[in-house]
């Protein structure tokens, strides 16, 4: 890397150009405290742009901290203006990836930045590996897709409220749909499997009813649950999941509810369980008794006789 160590007027450094920005960290308080205490340890890397101003290659946070601390000048590593763009990109990535493990958004920014310089998969793979970036073509493609998603969704992925995989599933939807779903997940923080289930339910309801996903999320059913302060996050998630499932599978839900109410009518004790055929498709029911001794076994027998005599069991079996 060819550079000169120079004292540069901070007003000449354009912090708004984020072409080479890799980091997702925006907080600068820790950095300010450190710079105030021991000064600037590693000078930022900049390069002279087309006009008078300098473009930042790395050191966005250090420069912001310096501005906040009231510096007028800062010592910077100034690259030769003839430095090829590909090298500038590599420096930007290396300055981050050689210091710490990049998060998924930083990886996606890096891959996107680097990809524009390579048409050959093989050459890209080599360059990515040299910069500690994922070199696998399939992961590269996913990271590239992630880099094009709306910022709110990228933030949700960064905050781990939307999984990387689910964010890619959301890619095909309208930005308003994405904003609503990521907003929902930001608040409820569901597990990966729940995220997938909710996205599938929303997308299928949307297709069946010709209604936008954002409109479904905005409906009273979901909004009432979201604003209900009497229940916690996981209860809200479960209620929304059940509500959407009922809407997507009305007949199946009705059958499940009917079975539940018949089970209630059977008044089973805590040691007895009656299970329906899976999805009510087969014809075999399972009656499960738990007992520890002969007395308890006798109680099971009594329970069994009660079940047989109860009309609810016939409702179940003849439905």
């Amino acid at each position: 890397m060819d550079f000169n160590l120079e004292k540069i007027d901070l007003a000449l450094i354009d912090l708004s150009i984020s072409t080479f920005r890799i980091t997702t960290h925006t907080g600068i308080n820790d950095l300010k405290a450190s710079m105030a205490d021991v000064g600037l340890l590693v000078p930022p890397l900049i390069v002279k742009g087309a006009g008078l101003k300098y473009t930042v290659i790395s050191g966005f946070r250090r420069l912001s901290a310096a501005v906040d601390l009231g510096y007028r000048y800062i010592e910077a590593r100034v690259l030769d203006p003839g430095t090829p763009m590909i090298n500038r990109a590599k420096f930007a990535i290396a300055e981050n990836s050689f210091q710490r493990q990049l998060n998924v958004i930083e990886q996606s920014r890096s891959v996107q930045l680097l990809s524009s310089f390579f048409s050959s998969e093989k050459k890209f793979t080599r360059a990515a590996a040299d910069l500690f970036l994922p070199a696998n073509p399939s992961i590269r493609q996913k990271l590239l897709r992630l880099s094009t998603l709306p910022e709110c969704l990228q933030n949700s992925v960064l905050n781990k409220t939307v999984s990387f995989i689910v964010s890619l599933e959301l890619e095909k939807y309208e930005p308003t749909d994405i904003i609503r779903v990521s907003g929902l997940f930001d608040m409820l923080k569901p597990s990966l499997s729940k995220q997938r289930e909710i996205v599938t339910l929303l997308s299928e309801i949307s297709l069946i009813e010709n209604i936008a996903i954002s409109d479904i999320v905005e409906e009273e059913m979901i909004q009432n649950i979201m604003t209900n302060d009497a229940i916690d996050r996981s209860q809200k998630m479960e209620k929304i999941r059940i509500g959407l499932k009922q809407r997507r599978f009305p007949e199946i839900t009705r059958a499940e509810q009917k079975f539940k109410s018949s089970i209630k009518a059977l008044k089973l004790d805590g040691n007895t369980r009656l299970l329906p055929p899976k999805s009510f498709e087969g014809t075999t029911y399972f009656l499960n008794f738990s007992f520890r001794n002969a007395d308890e076994l006798k109680k099971c027998q009594v329970m069994m006789n009660k079940i047989i005599k109860n009309p609810a069991i016939h409702d179940i079996l003849n439905s």
């Binding site: 199946i252 059958a255 014809t283």
Partner: protein, 366 residues
């Protein structure tokens, strides 16, 4: 047929059927040593499922020509036998299982017909009735412009009394059946669906009225007929529309000449869902109330199937009380709730179908 590429297995180059098809098709030919060359070519296309419909591979059936229908033990199978003449189809139905059944899906036509007839001869000598069809892995009549196999099959079946041939189709390509000496040993059958399903989900197939007109022509030439309501789709207003289809059938053909009508609802392997989503984004058929069936395939929730079946069975019974109605791949519970009996009460489904075939087609029983 829309075939733009012809691959020929070097081992069947001199086969008479190969020469015939090559002359009739008149498209660029590539001779291959290995089927993998064909598959590789199809897989390199952007949409291999579609590419497979325009690429024909003439080869030899190295396995059995006659196979048992791949039913599962959880549901009642009709005991049908498949005459494996080729694979895949030039039509493009959204729900077609063949899209995911072959890897990759490719139009293959087996030209070693000598072997096929040797196998058939042994079936013809059987003491039991056999119902054999060519429409399981392909459409029976899409090959009519290329091959004379149907002609030979109809003639072959006409000269015996142990088996019936079922030609199952969604086309109207029946013209060449007209003067064949069939002796009522060939049943011509059509896949039936509502106008809406045909229009939205069955690309490049014939319209309902055209299928029925073709059925009427076959009836006029003395052929026994059959109809298959499979896959039935559940959607708002479907019952009324299926009722209309039943009415239409018997406006075109007489019930006495219908050997059987099968009923089955849409079911699909989980692997088909992404293919439909990708190839038919407008299709909503995969968004019904499906559950995972006992055979691992997605099926409509049972009470919904039963409701539709009951209506269909009643409608057919009213229009054609003597016609045998059966379910394709359903259990006794569905049979009892929809038709009021299970096949075992009548000797089993294969026996019911054999008897109907014997009655309509003049087969020797036992």
């Amino acid at each position: 047929m829309g075939i733009s590429r012809l691959f020929i297995d070097e081992n069947v180059l001199d086969c008479p059927e190969t020469v015939l098809i090559q002359n009739r098709l008149n498209v660029p030919v590539e001779i291959v040593r290995d089927s993998r060359e064909v598959y590789k070519s199809i897989l390199s296309e952007e949409d291999p499922v579609l590419a497979g419909k325009h690429t024909l591979f003439l080869t030899k059936n190295k396995g059995a020509f006659i196979k048992n229908c791949p039913g599962t033990r959880h549901y009642t199978c009709c005991g049908y036998k498949i005459l494996h003449i080729g694979t895949y189809c030039t039509m493009d139905c959204s729900y077609c299982i063949l899209q995911s059944y072959f890897h990759p899906p490719a139009l293959q036509y087996f030209v070693n017909h000598q072997d096929l007839f040797i196998e058939l001869d042994s079936v013809f000598k059987s003491k039991e009735i056999n119902r054999i069809g060519t429409g399981e892995f392909t459409d029976s009549l899409i090959w009519e412009n290329l091959s004379d196999l149907t002609h030979a099959l109809v003639a072959g079946f006409s000269a015996q009394t142990a088996a019936v041939l079922e030609l199952k189709t969604k086309t109207t390509g029946v013209g060449r059946l007209q003067d064949l000496p069939h002796n009522r040993k060939t049943i011509v059958s059509w896949s039936m669906n509502t106008e809406k399903v045909i229009c939205q989900e069955e690309r490049r197939t014939s319209a309902l009225s055209e299928r029925l007109a073709a059925a009427a022509r076959c009836e006029s030439w003395g052929y026994p007929l059959a109809f298959h309501f499979d896959p039935m789709m559940i959607y708002d207003g479907c019952e009324k529309e299926y009722r209309e289809v039943v009415k239409q059938i018997f406006a075109y053909v007489s019930p006495e000449n219908v050997v059987w009508i099968s009923i089955g609802s849409f079911r699909f392997t989980p692997s088909l869902k992404p293919i439909i989503q990708d190839r038919f984004p407008q299709s909503k058929i995969i968004y019904g109330e499906f559950i995972s069936g006992l055979d691992g395939k997605m099926r409509y929730f049972k009470p919904l199937r039963i409701k539709l079946y009951k209506m269909m069975a009643a409608m057919i019974k009213e229009a054609a009380p003597e016609v045998l109605v059966y379910f394709c791949m359903e259990d006794d519970d569905v049979w009892e709730k929809s038709l009021g009996f299970s096949p075992s009460e009548r000797g089993g489904l294969p026996k019911m179908l054999d008897e109907s075939a014997a009655r309509h087609c003049g087969l020797d029983v036992g």
